[in-house]
C-alpha cells in the first residue's frame, strides 16, 4: 500500500489554516464566559422553592444537556429568526456563542451546585448565627468556599468546549476547521488539512489538560489539608 502524504502541501496549508486559530480560541472563551455566567442563572433558578418550577427547570436542563449541540446550533442559527414574535437574526459567531454557551451552561451549573453542596452545613449555620444578610452569606461566606474547589472542573470544561467549538464551522464560523475544509476542497488535499487541524488541537489541549490535572492535584492537597485541620 502506497502512503500518499505530501509534505509540501502540509507546509503550504499550515499557515493558511493557522489563520483561523484566533477565531477558534476567541469563540472558545466567548462560549466559556457565557456558560460561566449562565451556569449561575441555572443555580439560581433551581433554588426557587416552588416544586413545579423546580421540576420544570430540572427537566429543561436535562433536555438541553441530553440533546445534540449541533442541532441546537442549527436551531438558533436557522430556526430562531423564523420564530414569530421573539425571533431575531444572529450572526454565525453570535449563534455559536449562544448555542454552545447555553449547552455547556447546564454542565457548568451542575459544577457550581456540587461546589455549593460541598460547603459544610456548619458554614451556613455559623453565618446565620453571625446575622449576615442573605447576600452577605453568599458573597462573603459560601461562594468563596464553593468556587475554588470547582476551578479544575471548570478548566476541564474549557478544554471540552475548545474541542466542541469546531461544530460552529457548520453554521459558517471560520475557525481552523472551516479553513481546513476550504483548503482541502480547493487543493483536493483533505489528508494534510485535517491532520493539521488535529495537530493544532492536540498541541493546545494536551498541555492544557496536563496543567489542569496538576492544578487539580494541588487543589486536592490544599483542601485535604484544610479538612485535616478542621478535624
Amino acid at each position: 500500500m502506497n502512503i500518499n502524504w505530501k509534505w509540501d502541501m502540509f507546509f503550504d496549508a499550515f499557515p493558511f489554516i493557522l489563520k483561523g486559530i484566533g477565531v477558534t480560541i476567541g469563540l472558545t472563551f466567548a462560549c466559556f464566559l457565557f456558560a460561566l455566567i449562565f451556569g449561575f442563572v441555572w443555580v439560581l433558578l433551581r433554588r426557587i422553592p416552588i416544586k413545579p418550577i423546580n421540576w420544570f427547570i430540572t427537566w429543561i436542563m436535562e433536555f438541553i444537556r441530553s440533546t445534540p449541540p449541533l442541532i441546537q446550533l442549527f436551531f438558533i442559527y436557522y430556526a430562531w429568526p423564523m420564530v414569530p414574535g421573539v425571533g431575531a437574526s444572529l450572526s454565525s459567531f453570535e449563534s455559536a456563542v449562544l448555542g454552545l454557551g447555553i449547552h455547556f451552561s447546564t454542565y457548568i451549573g451542575e459544577v457550581y451546585r456540587s461546589g455549593i453542596e460541598g460547603v459544610e452545613k456548619g458554614q451556613w449555620e455559623a453565618s446565620t448565627a453571625l446575622n449576615f444578610s442573605t447576600g452577605q452569606k453568599w458573597l462573603k461566606i459560601i461562594l468563596p468556599q464553593a468556587i475554588p474547589p470547582t476551578i479544575p472542573m471548570l478548566g476541564n470544561y474549557l478544554i471540552i468546549m475548545f474541542k466542541e467549538v469546531p461544530l460552529a464551522s457548520t453554521i459558517g464560523v471560520v475557525g481552523i476547521l472551516a479553513l481546513a475544509d476550504t483548503y482541502g476542497t480547493e487543493h483536493f488535499r483533505m489528508l494534510e488539512s485535517y491532520t493539521i487541524v488535529a495537530i493544532i488541537f492536540l498541541a493546545l489541549s494536551y498541555p492544557s489538560a496536563i496543567l489542569i490535572n496538576k492544578l487539580e492535584k494541588k487543589m486536592n492537597r490544599r483542601f485535604d489539608k484544610k479538612a485535616a485541620i478542621q478535624d
Binding site: 441530553s66 449541533l70 442541532i71 436557522y78 430556526a79 423564523m82 485535517y194 488535529a198 489541549s205 494536551y206
Partner: protein, 221 residues
C-alpha cells in the same frame, strides 16, 4: 409552526431514524469494547502495550470528534490511496474510538479503585490472574463504572448527529434538506429533531439513574 407543518415534517424525519439508531447502537457496542480493551491494556505490565494504548487514548481525547470523523472519512482513504466510501464505518469508528478513549479512563480508574484486599483474597484462593480479573475485580469495577458509562451513552447518542456531516442520511440530514427547501419549516424541523433526541435519551437517563443505585451496592473500595 402549525399542527399541519408538524404532520408534514414528522414523516420526513422518520426516514432517517433507522440510520440514527443503527449508528448509535454500533457506536455504543464498539465504544464499550474499545473502552474495556484500552482500559485493561493501560494496566498491562507490558510497556509496549501500555505505550500504544496511551498514545491512542491521548490522541483521541486531545482532538475533536468532528475532526476525527472528517479525518477518518476524508483523510484515511487518501492516505492509503484506497477508495473506501463507507460512511457507516467511518461514523461508527469515529464515535466509538473517541468515546472509547474517554471511557477507557473510567474503566482503568474503576479497576484501580477496587480494594487491594480483593486481589489478595483471590490470590490466597489461588485464582489465576485471568480468573481474578474476570470473577472478582472486573464485576466490582463494572458496578462502579455504571453511572459514568451511562452518562457516556447519552453523549454517544448526541454524537450520532454528526454523521450527517459526512453525508449519512440520518434524521438531521433529512431535516437539513427540508430546511434548505423551505426555510420557514426550520423551527418545526429542529424542534422536532431535538424532541426526537430527547425521547431517545430518556430511557438512557433513567437507566443511568438506575446504574447509580446499583453501583452503590456490592463493591469493596
Amino acid at each position: 409552526m402549525t399542527i399541519h407543518a408538524i404532520i408534514d415534517v414528522f414523516p420526513v424525519l422518520m426516514k432517517g431514524i433507522n440510520i440514527t439508531i443503527t449508528v448509535f447502537l454500533l457506536s455504543a457496542i464498539f465504544g464499550y469494547l474499545f473502552a474495556i480493551i484500552a482500559g485493561l491494556c493501560r494496566l498491562s505490565h507490558n510497556l509496549v502495550v501500555r505505550g500504544i494504548t496511551s498514545f491512542y487514548v491521548e490522541i483521541f481525547r486531545g482532538t475533536s470528534l468532528i475532526v476525527q470523523l472528517f479525518w477518518l472519512y476524508y483523510a484515511i482513504p487518501m492516505l492509503f490511496n484506497v477508495g473506501i466510501d463507507n460512511r457507516l464505518m467511518a461514523g461508527v469508528l469515529a464515535i466509538s474510538l473517541n468515546y472509547g478513549a474517554y471511557m477507557s479512563e473510567i474503566v482503568r480508574g474503576s479497576i484501580l479503585a477496587v480494594d487491594k484486599g480483593q486481589t489478595e483474597a483471590s490470590i490466597a484462593l489461588n485464582l489465576s490472574p485471568f480468573q481474578r480479573m474476570r470473577m472478582v475485580i472486573f464485576p466490582q469495577a463494572l458496578r462502579m463504572m455504571l453511572p459514568e458509562l451511562g452518562n457516556y451513552l447519552i453523549q454517544m447518542l448526541k454524537a450520532t448527529s454528526l454523521v450527517s456531516l459526512i453525508g449519512m442520511t440520518d434524521i438531521l440530514y433529512h431535516g437539513n434538506i427540508l430546511r434548505s427547501t423551505d426555510l420557514s419549516a426550520a423551527p418545526t424541523v429542529y424542534l422536532l429533531l431535538l424532541l426526537f433526541y430527547f425521547i431517545m435519551a430518556l430511557p438512557l437517563i433513567l437507566l443511568t439513574r438506575k446504574g447509580e443505585q446499583i453501583s452503590k451496592k456490592g463493591v469493596a473500595r
